[in-house]
Every structure is written in C-alpha cells, then in structure tokens.
Amino acid sequence: MEETKKLWKKLRKKVTQFMTKNLFKRDKVKYVYKSKKGLDEGVVIDISARKNEPKWMLQRRLDALSLYEKMPIPKWGGDLSPIDFDDIYYYLKPVEKAGKTWEEVPDAIKNTFEKIGVPEAERKMLAGVKSQYDSEVVYGSIKKSLAKKGVVFLSMDEGLAQYPELVKEYWGKVVPMGDNKLAALNSAVWSGGSFIYVPKNVEVGLPLQAYFRINAESAGQFERTLIIADEGSKLHYIEGCSAPAYSTASLHAAVVEIFVKKGAKVQYSTVQNWYKNVYNLVTKRAWVEEEGEMRWVDGNLGSALTMKYPACILAGRRAHGEMLSVAWAGKDQHQDTGAKMIHLAPETTSQIVSKSISKNGGRASFRGLVQINKGAVGSRSKVTCDALILDKLSRSDTYPTNKIMEEKVVLEHEATVSRVSEEQLLYLMSRGIDEKEAEALVVNGFMDPVVKEIPMEYAIEINRLINLEMQGSVG
C-alpha cells in the first residue's frame, strides 16, 4: 500500500514535470538525410534503396503509389483540405543507425525522450522500448529474458531485413494497400514502426512500448507496425506520441496490422497527444482467430484532426474484439474516431465503449461499424457511446452502422449525449468544491470506465492532460 502510494506520488510528479517541460518545442537536430518535399516515384525508389530493401518490397511500394495517386481524398469524416501534400517531407532520417543504448542516441534527440520519461519507464515498467524520431527508429531495446524466449521486437525495417519471409506473408494482409488512400500512401512511403513476434504460449508480462515523435516542420510520419501473436501467447503494446508546435500541417499516417492467433490475447493501447497542427489519419486492424482476444484502448487528446477506426476481424469461433476509447476535442480540434467489429465466425463477441468530450468549439464524432456475417451464429455485440459536451460552442455526432446478415445474434446499442448539468455542478459545489474542480470531477468520472483500463502511468497522463485542457493552460 505504502509502496503503491509512493510510486503514485512519484509518477504524478514526473508527469507534472513532463507537462511543464516544453515538449511542443522543436529540437535542433541535423538530419542525416531529408527527401525533397512532395512525392513521386523517385522519392519512393530512393527510400527503398536507402533501406536496401528486397525488390518485392520496392514493387509493393510502387504498386501502392500508383493506387494512392488514383484514389480520391476521402470526402467524409474531417476536413483534409489544410494538408498540402506537395509541401511535406515524406522521408526524414535523423540518425545513421538505431542505438542499442541511450548513449548511442544523439543528445538533442535523447533529451526529448528523457523529458518524456522513456528511459526511466523502460527501466521500471517496460519489457522493451522503441523510440521513433520522424521517419526512423532511433533507439530500441528488449529485455534479455524475453529475447531468450524468442520474442522479437524490432523496428519494421529491421524486421524486414531479418524476417523477410514473415513480413512477405503478413505485411498488407489485413490492411491491403488499396484499403484507403492513406493506407496506400503509407504502403508506398512507410518507414519505421514496430515488428513484433511473440512465440506460442509465451506471455510478455510487462508491456512493450513505442514512442513516436515528429520533430521537423512539414513532416510526414508513416510508421508501419506488424504484430504477430502466435497461439496462446499474450502481449500488451503501448504507443505514445508528441510533436512540437508548428503552424503548418504535419501528417501522421500509420498502418498497424495485428494477427492474433488461436487463443492469443493482445492489448494495444494508444495515448495520442499530437500538437494541434498534426493530421492523424491511421488505419489499424486486427485479425483474430479462434478464441483469440484483441483489445484496443485508445486515448485521443491531441491533433487537429484524427480519423481512426481500429478494427477487429473476428475470424475464428469465439474470437473476441474490444475497443475502449476516450477522445478529447478542444479548440480547433476534430476527433473523428470509432471502431469496426466484423464477425465472420460463430459465437464471436465484441464490445465498443466510446467516450468523448468536447469543449471550446471542439468536435467529437463517433463512427462505428458492427458487421455480423451470415453464419456467425450466436454472435453478440455491444456498442456504448457517450458524449459529454461542455459548452454551447462544441459539437458531438454519432454515426453508427450495423450490417447484420445473420438472425441468431444479439446486438445492443446505447448512445447518450450529455452536458455537465447545472444540477451536478450545484451538487458538488454545495459540498464545498469550486466550480472548475466540480467540472473536472464530472469529466474524470465520465472517462473513468475507459481510463482505468489504461496502464497507471498513462492513465495519470490522460487525467492530467484533460485537467490541464479544462483549465485552458495548454495550447
């Protein structure tokens, strides 16, 4: 008890320090290589050549590029017009080679990760770390005990070099390059991201963490993550992110593919705190086999616009998919988030819990899809989405879609939109709590069901960030 309290106190202090140190400042880094602005075949060939990739990967990149060029920019969701696709650096290489110890990482970069607390967290509570800076992973580690058990945690580039057969088989399998325009773009110019393989029946007790930072102005970050959790294995992966304050739009278009084999369990937690110039357009999808469990936990606090709808394809009998998300939309922010649950097999189950808060003119949209195919007998799905709107300037929308092609299934849907009521504020204030804190209490209570599923350190971070946003002291 005493120990926990101490740890809690310490973490709180750290998060406070983290918030007060200005992470929204640019680090002065000299890049080893910067591609020219804009995108053409030459840029793609150049990226692939610099990475010494096999020919088939270059071919996939070029195929993806031609798809990307043909596909229209999505007209639904948020406003993408502020992104000038010709004014973006598609590849920015900060270092020659990823470090295996922090000493090998250049100071300017290392300091930023120090501020965020990555090395400290790594020592105390993580099984492995990847830190990506613009286009490349600059640091990577994994606990020896895990490596001995055959757990692979590499950057995607290293994964491709060391496990080409696995990558060739799984890369682009659950998110095909033509899935959507941004997935096509990622497939053409991807760089960095994580490659993880967990062998049969191996449980990775502590989480693996990846931290992403966009540092350069007008940068594009296109990491690509592939996770294969073999039969009966267990993994928790966490990602966090940050970026300095720029006035021009930056683009983050990632693709994450996860394969959850028979009886495996994967949790993928994200705490997204991009600066308000970042367009965060991410495709995340998991393929879940028999009795496998996939859980997405997603906190979206930053960015100008986020469009992200993590999906679970429940392909094996009794597979389970879950999405717990909390979104904060403040001034000039649009969080267009949701989830997709595709039930292909009998007795599959899914749950979506979405919580959003909008304030100061922010807009939070929930976009969800539950699809139950013919033959997925006995499947069940439950969708709960609650929106909290804190003032009259702000907005919340819900766009649920259900495609049910099987009769013997159960689908529940609950949606609420609420405002922090005057009655709630009066009640709390009548207990001696001032108005701002009363509002914060109501908001924290509202988020509680999702936040408590996030590892403690990140949960505190989310609570703190939201409390800071409520006080208007950030951004």
Binding site: Y427, S430, G432, I433, L441, F446, D448
Partner: protein, 241 residues
C-alpha cells in the same frame, strides 16, 4: 447563527418567496412546514445559492456574515450543508473521491486512508450497503440509499447548519429513525443547527423541533413551538386558508 430577513425570491418569472423571516440559533432544530408549493424548497435552494433562485430583496446572514454575497462552494466552506430532496447522480465519481475533494477545498487535512476508514464506519452505522460506496455517487441508487448517503456526507463534512430538504420522502420508518438518530448525535455533540423541511409530521417525531415555522404561498403563516405540528396533523393546512 442564521438570520433570514424579509427575503423575496424569484424563479424564472414567478415569485416564490414574498418576504420571509426566519431565525435558527446554534444547536437548534427548526422545522419548516407547509403544503406542496408553499416555497419550502425554494428557501432551501436560496440558502445554498442555487443560481436559478434570484433574490429580489432581503438579507441572509450566517454568523453575522452576508451569505448572499457568497458562491455555493463558499457557503459550504462556511458550514452550510444541504441534504437534497433528489440528489443528482455523478457517474464515475465515488463518494470518497467527492468527499476528499470537498475536504481538500476546505483546507481540512485528512488522508485518503483516514477518510476511507471513516466512510466505511459511518456506512456501517447507517446500514449502507458497502457495494454502493464503490459506485458513482447516487448512480443507480434507490431512493433510500440516496438519502442515507446524504447523511453519511453530513457525518464526514460536519456542517454547522444542516438543511434537510424532504429527507423523509421514500424512507421507511426504520431508516428514518436511524437517520434521525445520526442527526441528533451531531446536534448534541457538535451543536449543529438543523433546518428541517417537511410537509409530514412523521420525521418530527424523531427529530423534535425547538421551533416550527409554517409557510404558505411564499409567506410565513404561522410560527411557534412543536404544538403546531400536532395542530397541522389534526386539522391539515386548510386552517391557514
């Protein structure tokens, strides 16, 4: 300790109190009675500073200080606590989290652990099911549980003036007795003052008032000692028509 002087109050466009005077001394139990719509709850809401209730005229003083100049939370830190007739739910916020925030805003030092012990001990005395303590305040509580939780908060926050707004509605006799005993203990030990709002006499059997004031249509129509309670029980409020 509390002096209400010629108070006139409006809700939306309707005047609900038309010049009410009332006095509650330290350690005193004052009953405020009257039929539905007489303005009893309006007076309670005015006392805690509910912004929907606009004061047009008059003064309210608490220990000599101008209560009307204070915000709701300031009034609470001066020792005013109301047990609500219909307490609102705060999902995801437990009673301990709320009380801790309340104690801290008030500058009172109590550790989370001390508070936990206290809350559980009081819950046991008030026969509150422990499982509701881990849920959001009033979230899915029964009527009786809500009322008990209001009194539990009183035990922790130790107000100087407790306002009971129809605490008796939705309570069975056993629960009513239990709550009344808990309140009486605070009156005796802490010299807490109580303003009991009710339109039944049931509660007043256990919480015997020192004084009784009767309101009707926003004005005081009667005042005196507990004999008035019996009078109303026998003849009803019709005697004030």
């Amino acid at each position: 300790m509390l002096e209400i002087n010629n108070i006139r109050v409006q809700v939306e466009d309707k005047e609900v109190l038309n010049g009410v005077n009332l006095r509650v001394d330290r350690g005193e139990i004052v009953a405020l009675m009257g039929p539905n719509g007489s303005g009893k709850s309006s007076l309670a809401n005015t006392l805690i500073g509910n912004p929907r209730y606009r004061v047009l005229e008059g003064k309210i003083k608490l220990n000599g200080e101008d209560l009307l100049a204070m915000k709701t939370d300031e009034r609470a830190s001066k020792g005013v606590l109301m047990a609500f007739q219909q307490p609102v739910a705060i999902p995801g916020v437990t009673v301990r989290e709320m009380l801790l925030a309340a104690l801290r805003s008030d500058g009172k030092k109590m550790s989370a652990l001390e508070l936990k012990k206290m809350v559980y001990a009081e819950a046991q005395k008030l026969k509150i099911d422990e499982t509701i303590l881990t849920r959001g305040v009033n979230d899915g509580f029964s009527g009786g549980e809500k009322k008990k939780l209001e009194i539990l908060q009183m035990r922790v926050l130790k107000p100087e003036l407790l306002i009971l707004d129809e605490i008796d509605s939705g309570l069975d006799v056993d629960a009513l007795k239990l709550l009344a005993e808990s309140i009486m203990e605070m009156v005796k030990e802490e010299k807490m003052s109580v303003l009991v709002i009710t339109h039944y006499q049931k509660l007043l059997k256990y919480l015997v008032p020192d004084k009784v004031t009767v309101l009707k249509r926003g004005v005081v129509v009667d005042g005196g000692d507990k004999e008035i309670v019996e009078k109303i029980e026998k003849k009803g409020y019709a005697i004030y028509d």
